[in-house]
């Protein structure tokens, strides 16, 4: 469904993505792992044109777009097909939970107001916030805010949802509620690309795990392949470190 080829991205001469290629099929749950600074966020941001990659291309259902020369129209087409869930939620502070979700429907997609409200309510129900339609972000907990963020992303029916560390700004006791929502989305057949450090989620939900380091994909495979038989020394070292932290955290 979605294929990106050979993305390169530099910041002031510093190459952050050094030719990343990724293929996503409908219904895939791709989890991207990797140490801090390896370019995971940059990769997602390039996919959604929040950053402009210098080189590479993206094919979406056979529609080919070069990152470098993409026109405003092409960018809009790709953004319409992708949803983005941010690490810091980035909810519109002057809008209620419901308005946060309807905004993209009414303003960007010209959905009639009544239909937009219905769809927004469905999305909020799906993330378990049927009793919080009229709350402002400042009145919601972090976990609830992130669930509004997810509702906002799914309400526009994207073909693929990009998650950038959706739980890493949350208090530990709130992580579960957000992961559960993501899990149920996955069970409903949503296509997702998820950057996360939640190894449990990767193991249980991912159809494919991608390990990135230094701006390239080092290794990818099923969760079983990556977690039980990692081949690359960098993957092994990363997993050892992170699983030890998890272990120490749980005791």
């Amino acid at each position: 469904m979605l294929e990106v080829k050979d993305i390169h991205k530099s910041y002031s001469g510093n190459e952050i993505l050094k030719g990343v290629s990724l293929k996503v099929e409908k219904g895939d749950i791709i989890v991207i792992l990797g140490p801090s600074g390896s370019g995971k966020t940059t990769l997602l941001r390039c996919l959604n044109f929040l950053e402009r990659a210098e080189k590479g291309s993206i094919d979406f259902d056979g529609i080919h777009t070069e990152f470098k020369s993409a026109t405003g129209h092409q960018i809009n087409e790709i953004r319409k097909r992708t949803g983005f869930v941010f690490q810091n939620y980035n909810l519109f502070a002057n809008k209620t939970a419901l308005q946060n979700v309807t905004e993209g429907l009414i303003v960007a997609r010209k959905v009639p107001k009544k239909e937009a409200v219905d769809r927004a309510k469905q999305a909020l129900d799906k993330v378990g916030l049927s009793d919080r339609y009229d709350y402002y972000p400042s009145q919601l907990s972090g976990g609830q805010q992130q669930r509004v963020g997810i509702a906002r992303a799914i309400a526009v029916n994207p073909d693929v949802i990009l998650f950038d560390e959706p739980t890493s700004a949350l208090d530990p006791e709130l992580v579960g509620e957000v992961l559960n929502v993501m899990k149920s989305l996955a069970e409903e057949g949503a296509t997702m690309v998820v950057v996360t450090h939640e190894m449990g989620f990767a193991q249980d939900v991912a159809s494919r795990v991608v390990f990135m380091d230094g701006g390239t994909i080092v290794e990818e495979g099923t969760p079983h392949e990556i977690f039980s038989r990692p081949r690359d020394p960098r993957t092994i070292q990363f997993l050892r470190r992170i699983l030890r932290e998890d272990y120490e955290y749980s005791i």
């Binding site: 929040l50 810091n88 502070a93 809008k95 905004e103 992303a153």
Partner: protein, 237 residues
């Protein structure tokens, strides 16, 4: 020393007639300055281009010179300059010296207020995190829509206290308009005082009127702020 209360009451009533002029200068100046200042603030946020540098230069020039000096320059130099330009160079028949003095007041106070407000707007726009802009774009809004619907409404709320300050400062500095022969509160009081050298009484009256006006402005802004910032409600449960 004994205050001449009869005189004070008389002056008070006379000076009240200057309030509309003072308010007119204040309001017109704000209305002229705000849109330009806003545009300048946007220019400065997108750092590229010379627009941003010209704006920055203008702001530091205006803020770095005393307003009294600006008035003196503008009011004594500009008419002669315009006269020369319009009537000699372009050979129009235009009576520069017949221009109502209040227009000069708009110009001087407008120059200043634009500079101050552009800084106010700039920092207010910065208080709204860039993340909300990105989120808006990611759900399909254009930059323009994101500014109008998400960023500006929040920026205005956080700018209100500073806009209030600017307005109060502007209101107070309009008392310099008498230098341009505008008949505002200050000018009327000075004329009254000149008859019998009751300057102390006249200034006390002026002081009182300005305190009242400024307090009213502040109350007004407080009310607007309370109304607009309803989304900042605290968690209630």
């Amino acid at each position: 020393m004994k205050l001449n209360t009869d005189f004070m009451i008389k002056t008070f009533l006379a000076a009240l007639k200057g309030i509309p002029v003072t308010l007119e200068i204040t309001v017109v100046t704000l209305l002229l300055s705000a849109p330009i200042a806003f545009f300048m603030a946007l220019k400065r946020l997108h750092k590229k281009g010379i627009g941003s540098r010209i704006t920055a230069g203008y702001v530091s020039f205006v803020r770095g010179t005393p307003i009294v000096l600006q008035i003196l320059f503008l009011y004594s130099l500009l008419p002669s300059l315009l006269n020369y330009l319009l009537n000699r160079v372009l050979e129009l028949d235009f009576d520069v010296f017949g221009v109502p003095p209040i227009l000069y007041a708009f110009a001087v106070f407008g120059l200043n207020t634009t500079a101050v407000l552009s800084e106010v707007f700039r920092s207010a726009l910065l208080t709204v995190g860039h993340g909300q802009m990105e989120a808006a774009i990611s759900v399909g809004l254009s930059r323009r829509q994101a500014y109008l619907r998400i960023i500006i409404p929040q920026a205005m709320v956080s700018a209100l206290p500073n806009i209030c300050n600017t307005t109060v400062n502007l209101l107070k500095s309009t008392s310099l308009a008498f230098m341009m022969t505008v008949k505002d509160i200050m000018a009327i009081a000075k004329v009254q005082a000149a008859y019998g050298y009751n300057y102390i009484e006249a200034y006390l009256v002026v002081l009182l009127i300005y305190i009242l006006l400024c307090t009213l402005v502040q109350l007004l802004f407080k009310a607007v702020e309370r109304y607009l910032s309803s989304y900042k409600k605290l968690v209630t449960c």
